[in-house]
């Protein structure tokens, strides 16, 4: 198998590190070599953050480069647009339909682009979810990232059972049930 390249992008504080832990657990469980690269420190303070996950027979480079990603998982739509050039030609974008204004937009210096998802869909396979809304229906808006992960799982090589077993091992014991439900919502979209 060729090395698979996954990118998780979002805004610092959205929980990209939890999702990368789940993905990491999943790939080891399946017996792959894996490398994950994360952003810690200052950028996590509301900045643009990206996590790279690469798995396969033998992985050297810990980062995914332009034009190489099989799946781009975006927790925020401007971030999907920022990293779309990392995607392979036939790669899939899984995007949470949420808008978080960056500071240049907040202070009126720049404009938040309109119709991001529609524009992305012109050239790419795009799968969208309003995960915050779905998570609120479940009673906890914080599990939105696992809903997005569920949707992404449709485009990856692991079974639902494999995903659920890793989620069970990775999230805090108290939140196992709600996270499993969140995953199912995304997986069944």
């Amino acid at each position: 198998m060729d090395t698979k390249n996954i990118m998780i992008v979002g805004v610092g504080g959205q929980g990209t590190l939890l999702t990368s832990r789940i993905l990491g657990g999943l790939t080891i469980q399946a017996g792959y070599d894996v490398k994950l690269s994360e952003v810690h420190g200052m950028a996590q303070r509301g900045g643009s953050v990206v996590t790279f996950v690469r798995y396969g027979k033998k992985v050297n480079e810990p980062i995914v480069e332009e034009g190489q990603a099989d799946v781009l998982i975006a927790f925020e739509k401007l971030e999907a647009l920022r990293y779309v050039h990392f995607l392979k030609k036939d790669g899939a974008i899984v995007v949470n339909d949420q808008r978080i204004d960056p500071m240049p937009v907040v202070i009126g210096a720049e404009k938040y682009p309109e119709n991001i998802i529609e524009d992305l869909a012109k050239d790419h396979r795009v799968f969208r979810v309003d995960a915050i809304d779905e998570a609120k229906k479940l009673g906890n808006s914080r599990v939105f990232n696992v809903i997005v992960l569920g949707l992404a799982a449709q485009h990856m090589d692991f079974t639902k059972e494999e995903w659920l077993s890793v989620i069970e091992k990775t999230v805090p014991a108290k939140t196992v049930e709600i996270n499993k439900k969140a995953f199912e919502i995304g997986y069944n979209l």
């Binding site: 990491g24 080891i28 200052m42 996590q44 509301g46 332009e66 050039h85 500071m103 404009k111 938040y112």
Partner: protein, 586 residues
């Protein structure tokens, strides 16, 4: 390593977690550090091993000296820090090179190519060369663990401290690691050794000779070190590399012959000469400065390096492919969209203090912490950022250069952890040299930017044990500052009044603006704010402090995002129309 028992299947570990595991398995008994991205998680993982005494020290110099003391006493000891932290610890570093070790002494130093979270892009290998200390450089999590163990062995064998150099990419990448049991290392007996441990000039002369012979021995013996590996493939392209760039080389040039250096100072000259003689074109691929390249060229060996590769930022496989093979790798253009720089969090107490400074049109000499973000729009009150502790001393320098009146629209701003790190000395200097000026200590009861580490004024140790908590107000008074105010950071009226009065005075004033970091309090938010659209005039005043939870919609209406607001209430004070209401949450 040979002869050890493997205790587990492979586990996924962050580079920094693997460094901690390496120290544990090596039988290390003491670890000291000051937090600094990207090195922080080393200590945060070492604390999980009860067999190792571990601490946050107030700064890197202290941490280094704590580790040196432990080594002299006969145990294996570790200090870890980021690259700029090594500057703070440079004084003990350069001399412990002469003293050497009793128990093994390893220093893990994290460089930050690409400047993810630092104020410069310096190369630790250059510092280590100047200090004549060996440097090992692992290239993945697995080696991170193994090289720390090897470093302890080298340290004791060659009577030298050993630096293990990492970079952000290695420290913050996860890879598979095989775990082994902890080695049972007996403490070395302590024997008084005047000529070795007392670095007075006469003794240092002798030790300098030893250091030089040690360097020669390491350079010669490096030929056989198992951490240096040679892979002979096609002889057309030969690459000398180390650390993370090795992974890029393997990806970009699978056909090339590669000499991967595990030790990058001193260089194993014979090994390099042998490799160079067997390849047609020799490339040297190293991030940051041409440390290997310049030495290799000085031996008369032709090599290609920084003439085609940059001294700035991180490398990648594509970058190497392009530089060496001239392959125009497919790179789609990035979209031109708004940047998303890091920002102060919703509910951050620094925003409150900065909004007052902005209103008073006061400039701030800044320091190292989240509050550096006070330099960017819309707050834009921080005018300078240099290094840890420099806010107070640079304000003093301005006062001495230009006089008291000049700094009456200036203050120094510094965090609580940074103040205890090195700000203390600077304040002492202001008192001693009869300075005037206002120092604002942004006391959020933690080391914020690195992810909430305790320090000498939080009342908790790294191990989470209760301890004496230094009273910042009493501390400033003891230094000789009589005018000290402690104010709630969200009490903007009192802050405004106090700052306004203080900057007008011909004396030193310290204002401790106190409120915990907004991320420190993990309890659910009980109160939030919302905008009464009937009363709102859409003037945008509430957006002045730059809270990311408040945004203007397409239709011009202003909204507070209920997934982000944490109820600090700072925006309420900016609304002249009483349009921001509080909402109680369950």
């Amino acid at each position: 390593m040979k002869g050890e028992t493997q205790v587990s299947e492979k586990v996924l570990m962050l580079g920094n977690e693997a460094f901690a595991r390496g120290a544990y398995e090596a039988g290390c008994k003491l670890s000291a550090a000051y937090p600094g991205t990207p090195s922080t998680e080393i200590s945060e993982n070492i604390v999980k091993y009860d067999e190792i005494y571990s601490e946050w020290s107030p700064n890197e110099k202290v941490a280094m000296e704590v580790a040196i003391g432990a080594s002299i006493s006969g145990v294996r000891a570790l200090a870890s820090m980021k690259h700029v932290g090594l500057n703070v610890a440079a004084d003990p570093l350069f001399t412990v090179s002469y003293i050497g070790v009793n128990g093994g002494l390893v220093i893990i130093v994290a460089d930050d190519p690409g400047l993810y979270s630092s104020q410069n892009e310096q190369d630790t290998r250059a510092v280590a060369r100047a200090a004549k200390i060996p440097v090992l450089e692992p290239s993945d999590s697995c080696e991170a663990k193994d090289f720390v163990k090897y470093a302890f062995d080298l340290s004791e064998k060659y009577d030298t401290p050993v630096i293990v150099r990492t970079t952000t990419r290695l420290s913050h990448s996860q890879g598979l690691v095989e775990l082994n049991e902890r080695l049972d290392i007996e403490d070395k007996p302590y024997v008084r050794d005047f000529a070795k441990n007392v670095m007075m000039p006469g003794n240092a002369k002798g030790r300098h000779l030893f250091v030089e012979s040690r360097e020669r021995a390491l350079a010669e013996d490096g030929y056989d070190f198992p951490i240096n590996t040679v892979e002979y493939n096609d002889s057309k392209i030969g690459v000398i590399t180390s650390g993370i760039p090795y992974q890029y080389v393997k990806e970009a040039l699978p056909e090339a012959s590669v000499l991967k250096l595990g030790i990058v100072n001193p260089l194993p000259r014979r090994l390099i000469e042998e490799f160079a003689s067997k390849v047609e074109t020799l490339y040297i691929i190293e991030e940051l400065d041409p440390i290997i390249e310049e030495q290799v060229r000085s031996w008369g060996i032709e090599a290609v390096g920084k003439d085609i590769l940059t001294v700035q930022g991180e490398y990648s496989a594509n970058m190497i492919k392009k530089a060496i093979k001239g392959e125009d790798v497919y790179i789609a253009k990035a979209a031109e969209i708004p940047n998303r720089p890091p920002i102060l969090c919703p509910g951050c107490p620094h925003r409150s203090v900065f909004s007052v400074l902005k209103k008073l049109k006061i400039r701030a000499a800044g320091d190292i912490g989240c509050y550096t973000l006070g330099a960017v729009a819309p707050l834009s009150v921080v005018d300078t950022t240099i290094c840890m502790g420099a806010s107070i001393s640079s304000l003093h320098g301005m006062e001495k250069a230009k006089g008291k009146e000049y700094i009456k629209d200036w203050v120094a701003v510094i965090g609580d952890s940074t103040f205890l790190h090195t700000g203390l000395n600077s304040l002492m200097n202001m008192v001693y040299n009869k300075s005037t000026g206002t120092v604002v200590i942004l006391d959020n009861s933690t080391t914020g930017m690195t992810g909430h580490q305790d320090h000498a004024a939080t009342g908790l140790t790294l191990k989470g044990e209760a301890t004496y908590s230094i009273d910042l107000e009493e501390l400033c008074k003891a230094l000789g500052v009589s005018n000290v105010h402690t104010i709630n950071a969200f009490d903007t009226k009192k802050l405004e009044k106090t700052i306004k009065e203080s900057v007008g005075l011909d004396e030193i004033v310290v204002i401790i603006a106190q409120a915990p970091c907004a991320l420190l309090d993990k309890s659910p938010v009980t109160k939030q704010y919302t905008i009464d659209q009937d009363k709102c005039k859409r003037c945008g005043m509430c957006m002045k402090p730059g809270c990311p939870a408040i945004t203007k919609k397409e239709d011009g209406s202003i909204e507070i995002n209920d997934t982000m607001c944490n109820g600090c209430g700072l925006c309420v004070e900016f609304c002249k129309f009483d349009a921001i209401k509080s909402v109680k949450l369950k």
